[in-house]
């Protein structure tokens, strides 16, 4: 039996070595983990509907209001670029007061075809402009797209501030505040958005246009689907994400005691990453 105890010790040592080897292998292999295909979902905020957005912006800084705010740039597919870039550069730079026009358009989007056309034209113009100014982002480089979009937003911001100052001297602060709040809201909603693109593969996933009404204390009081996707799964996931995000952070003090409307576009992108 003495030999058996020797073998017992050997077996224990072998197991310990095997476990250590497995741990080291995992550490060594940590960088080579092949992640499964994931769905990169684009969450883009749209200009709020006319009433709500005006509430946000009429106090100060109409010129700085950014109609479309990129919250989380997805894999840079063409459709994403369109949605992202449309109002960010072109509209604010040339005609700051018209920045609000897309908001109205978006509100009427589900009902009117011209609004869609206008939106598409704006998107095309934005895409061309960005293609000229920035190198084409790598398909998988989300950070590159992020930085490009940030630059565009800053350009719009500065242009809007200049125009606004010239026109009426209203400050940048109002628009900046609402923008940051919208960014925070969009970030929260995106974190709560659970979505699998595999279920959407055959359903021709489209964008979902949603606007939400936020009370001063941050509670989401109303969710309106301006345009639904073909996939009910996508629609439900958006609805659940918004419901789960309530209550949001309280509205900025600059907004007073009024409730605000904020619009978003939820669009699945990069399914075949």
């Amino acid at each position: 039996m003495k030999k058996f105890y020797i073998w017992l010790v050997v077996a224990a040592a072998t197991h310990a070595i095997a476990l250590c080897a497995a741990v080291f292998f995992q550490i060594w292999n940590a960088g080579n983990i092949v992640k499964p295909k994931i769905v990169s979902v684009t969450l883009v905020s749209l200009p709020a509907p006319a009433g709500g957005t005006q509430e946000l912006s009429d106090g100060e800084g109409d010129a700085e209001e950014i109609p479309v705010q990129v919250i989380s740039p997805p894999t840079p597919s063409p459709s994403v670029e369109q949605k992202v870039q449309k109002p960010v550069v072109k509209e604010p730079q040339q005609k700051p007061p018209q920045l609000l026009s897309p908001k109205i358009v978006v509100e009427k989007a589900p009902a009117s075809q011209p609004a869609d056309n206008q939106l598409q034209k704006a998107l095309e113009r934005m895409k061309q402009l960005v293609d000229q100014k920035t190198p084409p982002p790598q398909p998988s480089s989300v950070s590159t797209l992020n930085s490009a979009l940030d630059k565009l937003q800053q350009k719009v911001k500065s242009a809007g501030a200049g125009n606004g100052g010239g026109a009426g001297g209203r400050g940048v602060g109002g628009g900046g505040t609402s923008k940051s709040y919208k960014a925070a809201v969009a970030s929260i909603i995106q974190q709560n958005w659970e979505f699998s693109g595999t279920l959407l593969k055959n359903s021709g996933g489209t964008a979902v246009y949603v606007r939400i009404n936020i009370l001063p204390d941050g509670t989401i009081s109303q969710i309106i689907f301006d345009r639904r996707a073909v996939s009910e799964y996508l629609n439900n996931s958006v609805k659940k994400a918004i419901e789960k995000s309530s209550p949001l952070p309280p509205l900025p003090k600059e907004e007073g005691s009024r409730d605000v409307w904020i619009g978003f576009v939820f669009s699945p992108e990069g399914i075949e990453r």
């Binding site: 058996f4 073998w7 017992l8 077996a11 197991h15 741990v23 995992q26 940590a30 699998s196």
Partner: protein, 219 residues
């Protein structure tokens, strides 16, 4: 260093006490099983080899004195041990001319040694069968318990998303994997050793009468 959501050992570190206990039991089962496998493999291999060499010598040399001397070189072989026990009993006979009594006593000594050898050969092997049969169930128990805990957590968090469900189930399934990892070598070893032991037992059964006859016919 390890992403607890991805790496197996990260999941183990997050496991509950029951799952950890199950894993530790399975680990100890695996260690003992491998020790038995290694010990028995070397023991049976030597036994078979020495028995084979001894049989060759036994049939080549008809002098039991020389055969006995040769048998003492083989410490692990079953057949040399049995022959030695018969020879010792033969040497202890008072009246070697009483064939009937001599045959009875030598046969009894040989049979006793054969039984002892069979027991030695089979020692620890049933543990492999026990591990092979029970380890998957023990692992399954850990898995069931882990999933139960996972669902309880889900009910508390009120979230049934994949992100909430998957880690718990993944963690629980480690127990089943560990059970299978312990059971599979044990079952393979058990089947192999059973077959090897049956070969040796058959040799013992077959050659024990040969030894008795050789001793009785000693001039």
């Amino acid at each position: 260093m390890l992403d607890p959501k991805i790496e197996v050992f990260g999941l183990v570190s997050d496991a509950g006490p029951v799952v950890l206990f199950v894993l530790s039991v399975l680990l100890s089962f695996s260690i003992v099983s491998w020790a038995i496998i290694a010990f028995k493999f070397s023991y049976l291999r030597k036994s078979l080899k020495e028995s084979s060499v001894f049989l060759d010598y036994f049939f080549d040399v008809y002098n039991v004195e020389k055969v006995f001397t040769e048998s003492e070189r083989y410490k692990h072989g079953s057949l040399p041990k049995i022959f030695r026990s018969g020879y010792i009993e033969y040497q202890a006979l008072d009246d070697k001319r009483n064939i009937r009594q001599a045959q009875t006593r030598i046969a009894r000594a040989v049979k006793r040694e054969a039984n002892t050898e069979n027991k030695n050969l089979s020692t620890l092997v049933p543990f492999l069968a026990t591990v092979g049969n029970t380890a998957p169930f023990i692992g399954l128990f850990g898995t069931v318990w882990g999933i139960m805990t996972s669902f309880h957590t889900i009910s508390l968090t009120q979230s049934a998303s994949l992100a909430a469900v998957a880690p718990g189930i993944s963690e629980a399934l480690i127990a089943t994997a560990a059970g299978l990892a312990a059971a599979i070598p044990a079952v393979i070893g058990y089947n192999y050793f059973t077959q090897q032991i049956s070969i040796i037992e058959r040799d013992i059964e077959e050659f024990s009468p040969e030894f008795v006859a050789a001793l009785l016919n000693e001039p």
